[in-house]
Symmetry: C2
Subunit: 323 residues, 2 copies
């Protein structure tokens, strides 16, 4: 069994592990360890029948159409999945490879899934490649033109656009033939527990992914929720403005507290600091969970905090200062 501390280094969002590691921390915890929007899309009233009956094929088709409008592709190119993680699990089985290039550091779920299927992970030079853009945790963007050039010399290119909702451009609008673009729903919409994600790929590739997931892959309530949220442009624009304002506030606090902001997206910031382990601990003792990285002991990743948590966040960041 993993210790709580090990779990905190592996994934964000594990408040139970944080409670075990910092038993004296004040409640409620403020979870800044993920890149999930802390102000979720409001759950619409759900017809009880969407829990009761098997989702109808037309409900999936409706969500495909709404997602296609949102991502700028054709409905036939959209695969509706119970979270992008479910697609990560399937890709190595559908496209077996001895070696997969995953330029890092990046989200560890890709390497885990390919390794579990027997693949070796390399930095470059394999026929299968996975690129996360904007990258997690550093926010690095891979230009579309470079992705298109890469796709030309690869058998399979997986482009994880989990944090791309507020980016000016996306490969989803016109994916190359051998490319699977992954789009996350739960992060931007603050609804990671609903389990919804998408693959966007040319029609024949999309069909293959859809057949792997099988019928009724996503439940009725999540289909309804996804349709409402992805069609709501006003909410998305308001979320963008709020995340910009809250992010700017956070940047100012981080800089005042001696952190250097080295990357990020509208949904998280990556900071560098000489005493990251010490500051991670001090923040934890104050009931604020951020994300540490075993491979970069000078890095911490922070999600964007809510306005109502500003006083506690500002005080804790300041208090975590090494001097």
């Amino acid at each position: 069994m993993d210790t709580g501390l090990e779990r905190l280094f592996r994934h964000g969002g594990d408040i139970n592990a944080a409670r075990a590691v910092f038993p004296g921390a004040p409640e409620p915890w403020i979870d800044l360890s993920t890149g999930i929007n802390p102000e979720p899309y409001p759950i619409p009233a759900l017809d009880p029948s969407c829990w009761a009956r098997l989702p109808d094929p037309s409900e999936v088709a409706d969500l495909q159409a709404v997602a296609a409008a949102r991502y700028g592709c054709a409905a036939e190119e959209v695969v509706v999945a119970p979270g992008t993680q479910a697609l990560l699990q399937w890709l190595p089985r559908l496209f077996p490879a001895a070696r997969v290039a995953i330029p890092g550091p990046t989200y560890g779920g890709h390497a885990s899934a390919w390794r579990a299927a027997g693949a070796e992970i390399v930095a470059d030079g394999a026929a299968h490649e996975v690129v996360v853009t904007p990258n997690n945790p550093d926010g690095r963007r891979a230009p579309l033109a470079s992705l298109r050039r890469r796709a030309e010399r690869l058998q399979l290119l997986v482009v994880d656009e989990a944090f791309a909702d507020f980016e000016p451009e996306s490969l989803a609008a016109d994916p190359p033939p051998n490319t699977v673009v992954l789009r996350s729903f739960g992060k931007t919409y603050g609804l990671a527990g609903a389990r919804l994600g998408f693959a966007i790929a040319r029609e024949s590739l999309a069909r293959r992914l859809r057949e792997a997931l099988g019928p009724w892959a996503v439940g009725g309530p999540t289909l309804a929720l996804g349709r409402a949220a992805l069609a709501d442009k006003d909410w998305l624009e308001a979320a963008r403005l709020r995340l910009m304002a809250d992010g700017a506030w956070l940047d100012a606090q981080l800089q005042a507290a001696g952190f250097e902001v080295v990357g990020g997206t509208l949904l998280f910031r990556l900071v560098s600091t000489a005493k990251a382990a010490d500051r991670f601990r001090k923040l934890g003792e104050a009931g604020i969970l951020v994300r540490p990285f075993s491979y970069r002991p000078d890095w911490l990743r922070l999600g964007i905090s809510r306005a109502q948590d500003r006083a506690r966040v500002a005080a804790a960041l300041k208090m975590s200062s090494p001097d």
Copy 2:
């Protein structure tokens, strides 16, 4: 694209297809085309946070424990899946086989999933075998002792107990080493749209299935719902009594209308009738959807109807009589 009529022969529950095939039928439709309990478990109040954050590993562990108590196995033997269909999709990939024995007729989803992975389906004599018990659509039970004997000479035995919740015995309580038992949640609890199902297998086999599904396979709301429902013994007993009473009422109407009841479970009845296609159509025109079978033109399957639908169901069954 399939015609509506083809869809009605493939799966139950497709009311949109029924509307297309029987455009003049009265609304609301009464859907007797599935084996899903028409009186769902009441959705408990769900904490908004279960939609927002990624489900915590402890929530999955809690549901494993509740399911283990319900099915009489150990928590480590329970795999929590977003519907048993998701497990059907994975089994042929995890246990590849050139030939799989699926004694039929039975639920078509097994054969589809194995065929999609390249396997040939045979009636008997393969090292991999899938048994549905009680069988869908005829309710035939495979005795536990015979399943255990079969498991001994097989590499993999899949036992689909989707309709076993009210049966006196289950292989889930002590699965043989090479056996995967599937248990459905949505049918008995009338919550097929929530997408929840379980595999029960010895610990190492269960771990393999869990790793294939990956983390966060089931969303927070469904985990909470599953925990509440599977722990509620009183509701289950009340559901059993109600289904017995409603089933006995249905049997009487079926016999009075000239159908022969040839099999079933507490959640559905299989009937035989000389003019099944004609009666399927007459029932459809009356807004009552039942399940026809292309391979047995004398069969129809009917779910158990709700007390409030008795008058319409009785009248339509009588009216469907060929004379």
